[in-house]
Amino acid sequence: MTQTSTSDVTPDTAETQPTGTEPTETVMETVVNIGPSHPSTHGVCRVVVHLDGEVITHCEPIIGHLHRGIEKMAENRTYLQVVPLTDRLDYVGSMYANWAYCRAVERLAGIRVPERAEYIRVIVCELQRIASHMMGIGSTGADTGAFTAFMYTFAQREKVVELFELLCGARLTYNYVRPGGVSRDLPDGWVEQCRAFTAQHPSAMLEIDDLLLGNVIARARLKGVGVLTQVDAVAWGTSGPIARGSGVDWDLRRDDPYSVYPRFDFSVPLGDNGDSYDRARVRVWECVESCRIINQALDQLEPGSVQAEGLPRLLAPRPGDAYDHIESARGSLGVYLVSDGSPRLYRMKVRSPAFCNLAVLPLLAKGHTLSDLVVILGSLDPVFGEVDR
């Protein structure tokens, strides 16, 4: 529950130091803590908001409540043992963290991944993108009070999660992508189920789009709220739907192609205004494009091995460092690994897109109301497992 942060006797107001250009004027400011346990912080984030009436004069996200020291924990573990840890980075998109980590390991150890494994990785990660965006779009609905849209997106997400459950037996922390491939081949009938999902998903997605983002009230709530200019988007290092909502035409799948992405035909949706509405809508269309990619990947999927051969379970790559990044649902997710030649990691650094995207929150929220803050925070779609690591 939120609490007032002032120690003043007056419950809700605090006299703060003069701000602005006129040093003699005293501004009555309300300081509100949104979080760390609040339905709209999407995790455990505390946003200290300074309010003038309901208008935000200054806000600062306080992160680290979910800091588990995963980068430190990784230094105590073998290369395989770190994979379950990466599940817990972005718990809405575990596959991405798995994949980014495994790509870095494969680079470091020079492992060649079988083609089928690459296709499966693409398929599951695009499904993961859908699942993750369902969370993002749905919470845009929940933040604006349209809880039903949240349920509809979660109905779609549930289908993806069930596909994942068939695949690896878990619904949230998959531990599926491994160095050298994936842990298990697709089960029987999975491809058909996946096709059935992608066949209905774009239409269902557009219906949700009509319900939520076509609604006049939602547009009034989202449009022009939290505008991130293209220049700022680049300078602040944002990526993913946040940058693309601002018109930054940058998608690692197309611009720094990895895995088998060059073999697929897809487009990258872009926004014009960089407001919360564009960010939400970029996610909608990314889901539709993901379905296209999945369909193409399922068409091109050939039988074969899903694990690199000749791979000992105890990897000990050569001393050195390697970095690899992939386009996760939140942006470019990079993993930087340093090896000292022993079977355990020397250093792992996760370049977390949510962390970089969240940094622009004070910039975006200033001048908007408290109601807009949750919308802006929601449109940045942070996952605090990844922000705090």
Binding site: R77, L80, Q81, V82, V83, P84, L85, D87, R88, Y152, E158, E165, L166, L167, C168, G169, A170, T173, N175, S183, R184, P187, A199, Q200, P202, S203, L206, E207, D210, L211, G214, N215, V216, R219, G245, S267, P269, L270, G271, D272, N273, Y277, D278, R281, V282, V284, W285, V288, S305, Q307, E309, G310, L311, P312, R313, L314, L315, A316, S342, P343
Partner: protein, 681 residues
């Protein structure tokens, strides 16, 4: 259901706006009405919520729930694959289909139960281990010295540290069995009236004879040479296989009831037709008798010999006539390496091995090449024979042409040669490029068909020839191959003969033996593995000493080493926890603690603790478990009234899948734990 739309294309810009003016107003009103329409439509659909959790129970067989153990040491024994001939295939097929076949057994052409051998040796039941192995591998002592051990290649220990020394254990089991052989070898009872004649006393013939004798048939074996053993006797050098071992093992088979006649060449002294009349079935296990020699210029000169002839001389006479001469061996296979090493041992001044393939592609086993190089053999790779240089009818050298590639894109043998030529001075040229069968005298006067290239016409899966009642097995069917591969064909041929004699259809219920599909794992990094877990090192004589004579190179394991080595066997797929601690080593959260006692004959798992409060349900431990003893249950609803209850000890882990503490479905529950409602449904 939502109407599926096909015409969905991503717009150039996703930020759509309302139109200005009245149209925009209508769009706004429409958006509201549309929204109400969507929710109204969806409210008529069937809800998708799962009735939690009753329907959930069957969602995914891959579910990662709490862990359990299927069995532990001391509770269950691993299944010993011990069934001869026909029934054996069914056993293997069952295990294979149930994914319960251990990799070593699956990768062995003859499916020797190496896992059972390890189990019995570790239990100090060594003669039994020998007999278990002999059921599938007729000459454990011989194969324990010369086999190329595909089992060890597939051994799952490969990707943890080093493979179990299965082949040295065969040899060790033989050495131990030899001490008690007189007590354990009793003639097998002859229960059938019919008899079988077997031509050739090589490994495949002996195997078929053994299977047939077990089935109760009388077997009569004819061997051309003075001593039995076939290629093992004439081809394999004595430094790899001491002859007394071979003869001793064959004597053991004779002691089981085999009638062995040496020095009788079927076709010359005794025609094949006579055998057909005397016996109800005849098995041709004659192997390959002649070396192939390339028809290049100078191949007929004095000093050009074939490999088999060379090895025969080395084995039987101990003298090849190369003392002080320079020997040039053409070929990159195991036989070529044998020839080279024999040449060294018979006093050659310089031995050069010339292979067509590059160093990586050489078909000989890498450890053989390595040993040969240690002893002083010079290897020249990627050269093909061009011409034997001859002066006054004697060999003076060899001209070789550079070889660019041996195999084409599809992997077929299709060498491409370059321009480069090189001359090597030498006195003797040994062609070791393959062997062929010589059948003309054998089949003279019978109706057994021979193809145009002089090969026997044989059905590859049933081992029947063109004449009913005449069967064939071994290298005469498969071409040059390994001893264990010949043994595998012997088993199949015996199955066919038994069916033939009993009048059963030959092909019925005869699925081809599962093709080994086990991935080859690289040798793992063992730097962090403690010494006691590593493979026992086979002691060898020093290269400079061993190159001089035909004493055996490998010295064998001691009793202590062998027991240690057998205990290293993980008993893959046996579904019995052997306390290998791989789960505990793999667990990222250190939630598993394993302790075991490793005494010979009394191995047991003393402690297995799973701390569920640490478990992250990542599933790595169960994936690592080589025996499949550690598996997941479907329990995902875990709640406990006390933190201590979250530590599952060995007893808890061994309970059946739906009866552990987590759900209390077996009625044994912590106090106050409610029985889930859905249990009663």
């Amino acid at each position: 259901m939502v109407v599926i739309r096909k015409d969905i294309t991503t717009p150039a810009s996703v930020s759509n706006e309302y139109s200005p003016g009245v149209k925009g107003f209508l769009e706004k009103v429409h958006s509201l009405v549309n929204g109400l329409g969507i929710t109204a439509r969806i409210s008529t659909e069937k809800p998708i919520t799962i009735r939690y959790p009753a329907e959930k129970w069957t969602v995914s067989p891959r579910w990662r729930g709490a862990l359990r153990l299927r069995g532990v040491l001391g509770h269950d024994e691993i299944p010993l694959i011990r069934d001869a001939s026909t029934a054996y295939n069914a056993v293997i097929d069952d295990l294979y289909n149930g994914e319960r076949l251990p990799p070593c057994v699956g990768n062995c052409p003859a499916n020797v139960d190496a896992r059972g051998q390890g189990f019995l040796i570790a239990e100090d039941r060594i003669p039994e281990a020998y007999e278990l192995v002999r059921d599938r591998n007729i000459l454990p002592g011989v194969l324990g010295r010369i086999c190329h051990h595909p089992c060890e290649t597939a051994c799952r220990r490969n990707f943890y540290d080093e493979p179990v020394a299965i082949r040295p254990l065969h040899r060790f089991a033989y050495e131990e069995f030899r001490k008690v052989a007189s007590e354990r070898l009793r003639p097998l009872p002859i229960t059938q009236e019919k008899s079988v004649a077997i031509v050739g006393s090589g490994p495949s013939g002996l195997t078929a004879a053994y299977d047939l004798m077990k089935a109760g048939y009388r077997c009569v074996m004819y061997e051309r040479e003075e001593r039995p053993g076939g290629a093992l006797n004439s081809g394999v050098p004595a430094y790899r296989l001491p002859r007394d071992v071979l003869y001793d093992e064959i004597d053991g088979i004779v002691a089981l009831g085999l009638e062995l006649h040496c020095g009788i060449e079927v076709g010359k002294g005794k025609p094949l037709g006579a055998l057909q009349r005397e016996h109800d079935a005849v098995l041709l296990a004659v192997g390959l008798q002649t070396s192939r020699i390339l028809p290049i210029p100078g191949a007929g000169a004095d000093g050009v010999v074939g490999a088999l002839e060379f090895l025969w001389a080395a084995n039987h006479k101990g003298e090849t006539g190369v003392r002080g001469k320079r020997v040039f061996v053409i070929g990159g296979g195991n036989v070529a390496v044998d020839v080279a090493r024999c040449a060294l041992r018979t006093g050659a001044s310089e031995v050069r091995l010339a292979s067509l393939e590059s160093e990586e592609e050489m078909p000989a086993h890498p450890w053989e090449i390595e040993e040969a190089l240690d002893e002083g053999v010079i290897a020249t790779c990627s050269v093909g024979p061009e011409e034997v240089l001859v002066k006054h009818g004697a060999v003076t050298g060899m001209r070789m042409r550079e070889c660019l590639s041996v195999f084409d894109e599809t992997g077929r043998f299709s060498p491409k040669y370059g321009e480069g030529l090189s001359d090597f001075p030498c006195d003797v040229v040994v062609f070791s490029i393959g062997q062929a069968a010589r059948l003309d005298t054998l089949i003279a006067g019978t109706e057994v068909l021979v193809s145009g290239r002089g090969q026997l016409v044989v059905d590859g899966s049933q081992f029947t020839t063109s004449t009913p009642g005449v069967f064939a097995c071994g290298e005469v069917v498969t071409g040059p191959g390994s001893a264990i591969g010949s043994i595998a064909t012997g088993h199949e041929a015996a199955t066919s003969i038994i069916r033939f004699l009993q009048g059963a259809p030959l092909s019925e219920n005869r699925t081809p033996r599962p093709v080994p599909v086990y991935a080859k794992y690289a040798v793992a990094d063992v730097s962090s593995v403690e010494r006691s877990r590593l493979r026992s090192v086979m002691p060898m004589t020093k290269p400079e000493e061993r190159a001089k004579d035909f004493r055996q190179v490998e010295l064998g394991l001691t009793h202590q080493e062998a027991m240690m080595e057998a205990a290293r066997c993980l008993r893959c797929q046996s579904e019995v926890c052997v306390g290998c601690t791989f789960c505990a080593r793999t667990c990222p959260d250190y939630a598993i603690h394993v302790e075991r006692v490793d005494d010979p004959g009394g191995r047991c798992l003393t402690r297995y603790d799973l701390d569920l409060s640490k478990c992250a349900f990542c599933g790595l431990c169960a994936e690592q478990c080589p025996t499949n003893a550690l598996t997941h249950t479907g329990q995902y609803e875990l709640s406990f009234f006390h933190r201590d209850l979250m530590i599952f000890d060995k007893g808890e882990m061994l309970r059946s899948g739906d009866g552990t503490r987590a759900t209390g479905r077996d009625g044994i529950m912590p106090p106050g734990c409610p029985v889930p409602r859905w249990r009663e449904r």
